[in-house]
Symmetry: C2
Amino acid sequence: MVARSERLLTLLQTLRRYRRPVTGTVLAEETGVSLRTLYRDIASLQAQGAMIEGEAGIGYVLKPGFMLPPMMFSEEELEALVLGSRWVARAAEPRLANAGADALAKIAAVLPPDMRDMVDSATLFVGRKRQDEDKADVSAIRKAIRLERILELHYGDEQGRISRRRIWPFALGYFEHVRIIMAWCELRQDFRHFRTDRIIDMTIHDARYPRRRTVLLKEWRDTQDTPIEH
Amino acid sequence: MVARSERLLTLLQTLRRYRRPVTGTVLAEETGVSLRTLYRDIASLQAQGAMIEGEAGIGYVLKPGFMLPPMMFSEEELEALVLGSRWVARAAEPRLANAGADALAKIAAVLPPDMRDMVDSATLFVGRKRQDEDKADVSAIRKAIRLERILELHYGDEQGRISRRRIWPFALGYFEHVRIIMAWCELRQDFRHFRTDRIIDMTIHDARYPRRRTVLLKEWRDTQDTPIEH
DNA sequence: AACACTACTGCCATAAACTGTCAGCAGGTG
DNA sequence: CACCTGCTGACAGTTTATGGCAGTAGTGTT
């Protein structure tokens, strides 16, 4: 039952090898299948999105591009891919930058909804600096954001002073390579950023915070007159 | 015939929806298939690398992670993904950096051989600066490298002086966000770098250069005592 | 210990799909 | 025109997928 899909991949690889148009007969021989079946295989590949062009009297050409087989990525690997593409889209030369944005869009399109948020929030900031290992559980933070739960933090600031805060987290972003929680701070009664690497300890409350996270995100965006850039 | 693979994706999505273990019976009903077939489907997914754990008396759980369906990327999109992951692997916090390296390895593993080179050469340099749009045809350059062809350049240097060079290109890399051709320069009789955005015009000769590009690459590496870093 | 629930495997008959052969149409080339 | 090629339909033979049944084994509950 895996025979067929393997054959389709072989066919794709064969098409890649030839740069010039190849006739169906040749492809049929190389994949060890009848001509009729080859035509059906080509149709299958095209249906699955492979950009194969066939012209009568000429043959088949695979338009440049690469089909990645189904792959399993961990949450962090996916995050790395997204963050990397985001960086390329922003910092590279225009042509490559567009390619980065396109790749990002393709990945985002097939992601489950709760991961889609990650792609969006990673948009907020991009920067360049090192940081130490995170102590906080990033997926737990994401869960709190998704469920609109109040988060209680033991948080150390730049001077090393430790404070206890209740916040309403609504987005997770990056700034200077440090993960940042965007949240409404109950103590300051204002929007605040919290570096995840400065979180000493945290608790997710069962209580939901009294506002929608999308509304908070919108209000926060409105307070930002100019995007943070360098 | 596409029904089966679609059903497997549905099954994966369903497994993701539930956070708790789900029994095979439930999954069978949701995917509209008999219990016996569901067991076979689960086996298929596991064989394809999905990390599904089944425990008697409990049910099935999908370990966190995300399977991307087969996707078509253009050469440039793939380049953006690779370059982005490379950057994350190098510049981000350790955990995310490892994830970036892992993602890169997974992608590289399924790439055709000639694209594998791209992953390797993108390793040479990473930096951070803007550049203007490339005039040169990057895929043509890669072709010249792959076929070990002599490349003739009209090249403008920092002072705007234009020179004509015959070079033996053996790798393509990045430095400060500018694509760089690594090559042996016939004029200087030494290794030189050429920024692709400073190429005014270029011609690929039919003649192959007299040495193997892998040898040139190795020799060039040997001349680099210390890797270029910041 | 008994029981309910579940994952998992083997067997087999049936249903569905894939495949090859044959035929024919359409577009491009010489 | 002949010739090569892509492309589609129909049919029969083969392969594969599926569902039901029976049985084994692990887990948790009573």
